[in-house]
C-alpha cells in the first residue's frame, strides 16, 4: 500500500484577477521508503503541493481532491487538529532558505529542544534534560560535531548548510515517515549540496524514511531519486521510475528537460543554439486551456486543447495525447489503477 496517495488534487487561488487553478488535477503516489523526486520550474506549484500535503494552506486557497490517503487514512476528512498532530509526528518538512526558517531571536538550541519529542516515561522535571540530550544526539546524526557551539548560536551566525542540517535534525527527530524537502539545497555550494543529499539518502536507507524531494534540477534529482514526477504549470506531465524516465521519456516536456541538460562532453559545436522549448512559462493569470504545455510543445496538435488524462503504462504515468512512443497510444483510457 502506498504511503501517500493523491488523486486529482486541485488547488484554486483567489487572486485579484479572479480564481486561478494553480494545481490542476495532480496525482502523486509515494511508496514507503522511497525517494520521490518532483521536478518543476519555480512557479509550477511544487511548493503549493507540498503545503497541501502537509496541511498548512494559505488563506485564499480552495482545495479539492478525489482522494488524499495517508497510509490508508483520508486526509480530507481529518480535522485541522488531527492534521497538526500528523504533521508533528508522521510528516515533516524542510524548506528552501534554511537560515530564514529558524527564528532569528531565539537560540538554535532552544528551538531544537522545542522540536524534540517528549519522553512520557520520565518524570516531568527530567524531561527537559532528556530533550536536550536527544537534540544533541540528532545533531550528531546529521553530521554536526560541535553541538554545543551550534546550539548556543543564533541562526544568522551559522552557514546555510549548518542551518539546513539543524532543520533536518528538527524534522526527523520525531521519526516521521515522510520528509518533504522543498529545494533543500537552494543557493548552496556544490559540496554542501552533496552533503545534504548524502545525509538524506542515508536517512532514507537507515530509517526507512520516505522523502519527497522537490527541485528544479532534473540532473540532481536523477542521481538521488528512485522515482520522478515532472510538473509543469500545476499539471503532472509524467511520473515513473527514474531510470526508465531517463532512458525513454514519454512526454515532450520531459524530453525537453533532458535535452536541456548540457552534456559536458565538449561535442557541442561552437556557437550552436542550446536546445530549449520556445517561449516561457505562462503566468498564473494567463494559463492556457487544455494541456498547459500546449503553446510551447513541439508535438502539439488541435487535440491538445483538451486536457489529456493521466495514462498508465506498466509502472509509468504520463499525460499526453502524443507521447514519444509509437506502438501504443492508450491515452483515452483513464488512469485509475
Amino acid at each position: 500500500m502506498p504511503l501517500l496517495d493523491i488523486r486529482n488534487l486541485t488547488i484554486e487561488l483567489d487572486t485579484p484577477h479572479g480564481r486561478v487553478k494553480a494545481l490542476d488535477k495532480v496525482s502523486l503516489t509515494i511508496n514507503p521508503a522511497e525517494i520521490h523526486g518532483l521536478v518543476g520550474e519555480s512557479g509550477s506549484g511544487r511548493s503549493l503541493l507540498a503545503r497541501a500535503i502537509l496541511g498548512i494552506p494559505g488563506h485564499n486557497w480552495t482545495i479539492k481532491a478525489d482522494r488524499m490517503l495517508w497510509d490508508g487514512h483520508n486526509l480530507l476528512e481529518m480535522s485541522s487538529k488531527q492534521r497538526r498532530n500528523l504533521m508533528g509526528s508522521d510528516i515533516a518538512m524542510i524548506f528552501q532558505d534554511p537560515s530564514s526558517s529558524l527564528d532569528p531571536v531565539i537560540r538554535v538550541g532552544t528551538q531544537l529542544v522545542e522540536a524534540m519529542p517528549e519522553n512520557k516515561k520520565l518524570p516531568f522535571w527530567r524531561r527537559n534534560a532528556d530533550k536536550k540530550k536527544t537534540a544533541r544526539k540528532w545533531l550528531h546524526k546529521v553530521g554536526i560535531k560541535d553541538t554545543q557551539k551550534i546550539m548556543s548560536s543564533y541562526a544568522w551566525e551559522l552557514s546555510e548548510g549548518e542551518c539546513q542540517k539543524v532543520m533536518i535534525a528538527m524534522a526527523i527527530a520525531n521519526q516521521p515517515r515522510l520528509l518533504i524537502a522543498d529545494e533543500p539545497t537552494n543557493s548552496m555550494e556544490m559540496d554542501t549540496q552533496a552533503q545534504i543529499f548524502r545525509l538524506l539518502t542515508k536517512l532514507n536507507q537507515l530509517q526507512d524514511l520516505s522523502i519527497l524531494l522537490i527541485s528544479h534540477e532534473l540532473e540532481t534529482l536523477s542521481i538521488w531519486c528512485d522515482r520522478l514526477s515532472v510538473m509543469y504549470c500545476g499539471q503532472i506531465m509524467e511520473s515513473g521510475p527514474t531510470a526508465e524516465i531517463l532512458a525513454h521519456p514519454y512526454h515532450p516536456y520531459t524530453k525537453a528537460l533532458l535535452n536541456n541538460i548540457p552534456h559536458h562532453t565538449g561535442q557541442i559545436a561552437h556557437k550552436s543554439i542550446m536546445r530549449t522549448l520556445p517561449g516561457s512559462a505562462p503566468t498564473l493569470q494567463h494559463l492556457p486551456i487544455g494541456c498547459r504545455l500546449g503553446p510551447r510543445c513541439p508535438r502539439a496538435e488541435k487535440k491538445c486543447v483538451i486536457r489529456p488524462n493521466l495514462s498508465h503504462k506498466k509502472n509509468r504515468y504520463f499525460a499526453c495525447h502524443f507521447p514519444y512512443q509509437e506502438e501504443t497510444c492508450n491515452d483515452d483510457t483513464s488512469a485509475s489503477s
Binding site: 479572479g18 493569470q285 494567463h286
Partner: protein, 296 residues
C-alpha cells in the same frame, strides 16, 4: 498595429490604479477622504456661510443649548456660549484658523524639511552625521516644550503658534526624508544607475525621488494631524490663540468655565477637532495600507 488580444483578460492595472483600488477597498479611509474634503471646503469658504460673525454677542441668548435640546433654538444651531456667541459660526471661522493654519504650517515645514532632508540625505560622512545629531537633539524636545520656548521668547499669539509648531515639525520631516533617502541609497538599483554614469542630481531626482513619494505622503498626513492637535493644545493652554479667537482649542478653554452648566461649549469644539484629526488619520492610514503592497 493594434495589439492582438490573445488572452481573454490580460489587463494588469497600473500601480496608480491598484493603489486607488486598494484605497477604495477600505470604506473608513474613503469616508475619511470625503470628510477631509469637506473640512478643506469649510476652511476656505466657512466664513462665507457662517450665519453670524465669530465675535457677535447676543445678550438674549446666553448659554443656549444646541437646537436638538428642548431649550435650544434653530437660530443658534449648536447653541451659544456664555457671551451669547453662536458656536456654529465660531466653529466655521475656527476651521479657517485651526485647519487652515495647520495646512499652512505643514506646507511650509514640508518644503523646508524636504530641502534640508534631501541635501543631508545625499551627503555622506561627517557632515551628514553632525546634521543628524543636531536633528536628534531638536526632535527630542517635545513639540509642546518647543512651543513653550517660542512663546517665552515671542509672547503668546496665533502668529507665534506658526513658528512654534513649524519649528517642532520641521525636524520630523527632515529626519523622515533623510532616512528614506539613506535607505534607498543603499539599494542595488542606485548603484546600477551610478554605474551607468548618473550624477548626484540625476540619482536624486530620477532614481530616488519616485521611490520616496510614499514616505513624503505619509509624513504629510501625520504632520497635519499632529499640527492640528498641537495648535489646539496650545490654544487650550492659552499659549496660542488668545481669548476671543474662535480657534477650536481656545474655544474649549473658554468653555471650561461653564463646563458644568453648559457642557456643549466644550464638547462641540472638541468633537470638531476629533473629527478633523480622525478623518486625516483615516486617510493617512488608508494611504499607508494601500501603499504597502506596492512596496513589497
Amino acid at each position: 498595429m493594434p495589439q492582438i488580444k490573445i488572452y481573454q483578460e490580460d489587463e494588469i492595472p497600473s500601480p496608480m490604479r491598484r493603489f486607488w483600488h486598494a484605497f477604495l477597498d477600505n470604506p473608513f479611509a474613503f469616508a475619511g477622504l470625503w470628510t477631509v474634503i469637506c473640512f478643506l471646503l469649510l476652511a476656505l469658504f466657512g466664513p462665507l456661510i457662517a450665519p453670524y460673525a465669530p465675535e457677535q454677542q447676543d445678550p438674549h441668548a446666553l448659554l443656549l443649548a444646541p437646537s436638538w435640546d428642548a431649550s435650544g433654538t434653530v437660530e443658534h444651531f449648536l447653541g451659544t456660549d456664555d457671551l451669547g456667541r453662536d458656536i456654529f459660526s465660531r466653529l466655521l471661522h475656527g476651521a479657517h484658523l485651526t485647519f487652515g493654519l495647520a495646512l499652512g504650517i505643514v506646507l511650509a515645514s514640508l518644503v523646508l524639511g524636504f530641502i534640508i532632508g534631501s541635501i543631508s540625505g545625499m551627503m555622506k560622512g561627517l557632515k551628514s552625521s553632525i546634521l543628524s545629531h543636531l536633528l536628534d537633539a531638536l526632535l527630542s524636545i517635545p513639540s509642546l516644550l518647543m512651543a513653550i520656548l517660542v512663546v517665552a521668547v515671542m509672547g503668546p499669539g496665533l502668529e507665534n503658534v506658526f513658528w512654534a509648531v513649524g519649528i517642532a515639525l520641521t525636524p520630523q520631516f527632515v529626519r523622515a526624508i533623510h532616512q528614506a533617502i539613506h535607505e534607498e541609497l543603499q539599494k542595488e538599483y542606485v548603484t546600477a544607475a551610478r554605474l551607468d554614469g548618473a550624477n548626484q542630481f540625476q540619482i536624486f531626482w530620477y532614481v530616488i525621488m519616485p521611490n520616496i513619494w510614499d514616505t513624503l505622503i505619509i509624513q504629510t498626513t501625520l504632520g497635519i494631524s499632529a499640527a492640528i492637535l498641537d495648535i489646539a493644545a496650545l490654544g487650550f493652554l492659552n499659549l496660542g490663540a488668545q481669548a476671543p479667537s474662535p480657534e477650536w482649542g481656545a474655544m474649549v478653554s473658554q468653555g471650561m468655565d461653564n463646563l458644568l452648566t453648559a457642557p456643549w461649549t466644550v464638547t462641540i469644539p472638541g468633537i470638531a477637532i476629533l473629527c478633523c484629526v480622525l478623518s486625516i488619520n483615516l486617510v493617512g492610514d488608508g494611504l499607508r495600507s494601500a501603499l504597502s503592497p506596492l512596496n513589497n
